[in-house]
């Protein structure tokens, strides 16, 4: 079966789109789309006709969400702000950090995670959104504190089969779960150590960098913390460390394979105060046993002098078989692997720093 892979590359100065037809050959790269906007959030929604959703932020004119139903040939956005805090909150949207399509059988349901930390929900395919009040009114919210990137709800993981269930993560605040469509939320941070807090294992306050969930095993999650890599097997309620075998416990992104629930990818950095790849070597780490062991992947990647990093949403997979894996760097390079990470090729270089990355077959 022929297929085209679309790779949406969000950067600090706009969006680029790379496509590869029939799963082989070179990449066609177009851009910049939406020039001079910071693209922290991008999604390629394939539940109906392919739709690219982009959370873009113009430094002068503020944040918005735009969409394209023709893979970047044209873009549209509503006249009124697609995401805006209601007047009674006295709050203004400063950034869209995450755009997450809902379950496959709910093609109009899309979530947005934003800064300041809040969750919005769209019922019209991602064009307009409403605040999820249940999380906004959570008594913990006013005690969440901004991490280095701001007070951001950067991760939204809808349940693949149940529209009432979702998991979100915010920095710093931690993981929260709902089972009633967002009306109520429970903190899910048991076991995540916070060496930067007075209490070692608080109920909330964790600086979660990213969480990943596998659609085939929706109760299992992987989490990259600000120090510590964790797995949950109970629906993001409790966590245990799985960093043994990694060169460090620090990093930002974490992603699961599209089809193999035991396969997970990360990009370790040395430490909080040394945010560089260990030894200046560009390596993705893969576990094939749900984090019990890890192996570096470096074929085709820079073997030395790589002092860049990978942001929390700049590592992703596609749903091909075998699975495609992708990452973008803060130094504007994007690498792709068509064989689950065994070997890599550079898709593009010399872009602005890559903030977000999503791939899909269309």
């Amino acid at each position: 079966m022929s297929s085209t892979v679309v790779l949406a590359i969000g950067t600090r100065k706009g969006l680029w789109l790379a496509t590869r037809r029939d799963g082989r050959g070179g990449w066609d790269v177009t851009g910049p789309h939406l020039p001079m906007t910071e693209v922290y959030a991008v999604a390629v929604d394939t539940r109906a006709r392919p739709r690219v959703l982009v959370g873009s932020e113009n430094p002068h004119f503020g944040p918005t969400v735009v969409s394209s139903d023709d893979l970047g040939t044209s873009w549209r956005e509503p006249d009124h702000a697609p995401i805006a805090f209601p007047p009674d909150t006295g709050t203004a949207l400063s950034r869209v950090w995450q755009l997450a399509p809902g379950p496959p059988d709910e093609p109009d349901l899309v979530y947005a995670g934003v800064e300041p930390s809040a969750l919005f929900r769209s019922e019209d395919g991602g064009r307009t959104y409403e605040l999820v009040r249940g999380l906004w009114n959570h008594p913990h919210r006013e005690q969440w504190m901004p991490g280095g990137g701001g007070l951001a709800l950067h991760t939204v993981l809808p349940h693949p089969r149940d529209r009432d269930r979702a998991v979100v993560a915010t920095s710093t605040g931690g993981v929260y779960r709902t089972g009633d469509g967002g009306a109520s939320w429970q903190a899910g941070n048991k076991g995540i150590r916070t060496p930067f807090m007075p209490e070692e294992y608080p109920e909330f306050g964790q600086c979660v960098h990213k969480v990943a969930r596998h659609p085939a095993e929706p109760e299992r999650f992987f989490l990259q913390h600000h120090g510590g890599v964790y797995r949950s097997d109970d629906g993001a309620s409790s966590w245990h460390p799985i960093e043994n075998g990694l060169p460090s416990d620090f990093g930002f992104p974490i992603a699961t394979h599209a089809h193999r629930p035991d396969v997970v990818y990360g990009f370790p950095l040395v430490a909080d105060q040394r945010r560089f790849p260990p030894e200046g070597r560009c390596r993705v780490y893969r576990s094939e046993d749900a984090g019990e062991s890890w192996h570096p992947l470096s074929a085709g990647l820079p073997s030395e002098g790589f002092w860049s990093g990978v942001m929390r949403d700049a590592l992703c997979v596609d749903d091909s078989e075998p699975g495609g894996v992708y990452f973008g760097s803060r130094s504007g390079e994007v690498y792709a692997s068509a064989d689950e990470g065994d070997s890599w090729e550079r898709v593009v270089q010399h872009l602005p720093d890559v903030l977000s990355l999503r791939a899909a077959t269309v």
């Binding site: 001079m36 002068h60 004119f61 503020g62 006249d79 009124h80 702000a81 805006a84 805090f85 203004a92």
Partner: protein
């Protein structure tokens, strides 16, 4: 009373291509009131000038007859008949 708003090139797409808007206002209008009126006509323009709390966007300057509004009363600055409002984005970024 009538005031005139001059728009930079990059924002005209959000005002149906207009380079200037002539806006009729009642009472003792302020810059904020002017933006309310613009929001009714061109919401995609208004939300680029201020956020949903009504705060003026940091890198957008509003010159009222030659004086930037932040050296006056900000969005509470009172407008008078014939006021010319020039919207000028800051030179910012890298």
């Amino acid at each position: 009373m009538l005031v005139t708003v001059f728009l930079p090139q990059m924002l005209r797409v959000n005002a149906a291509g207009a380079a200037r808007l002539e806006v009729e206002l009642d009472g003792d209008p302020t810059l904020g009131g002017l933006l309310d009126e613009i929001g009714d006509r061109h919401p995609a323009l208004e939300r680029r000038l201020r956020d949903e709390t009504g705060a003026l966007r940091r890198y957008i300057n509003f010159y009222l007859d030659g004086q930037e509004c932040r050296s006056l009363d900000g969005s509470a600055t009172v407008l008078v008949e014939g006021t010319e409002v020039r919207v000028i984005p800051s030179v910012a970024g890298g």
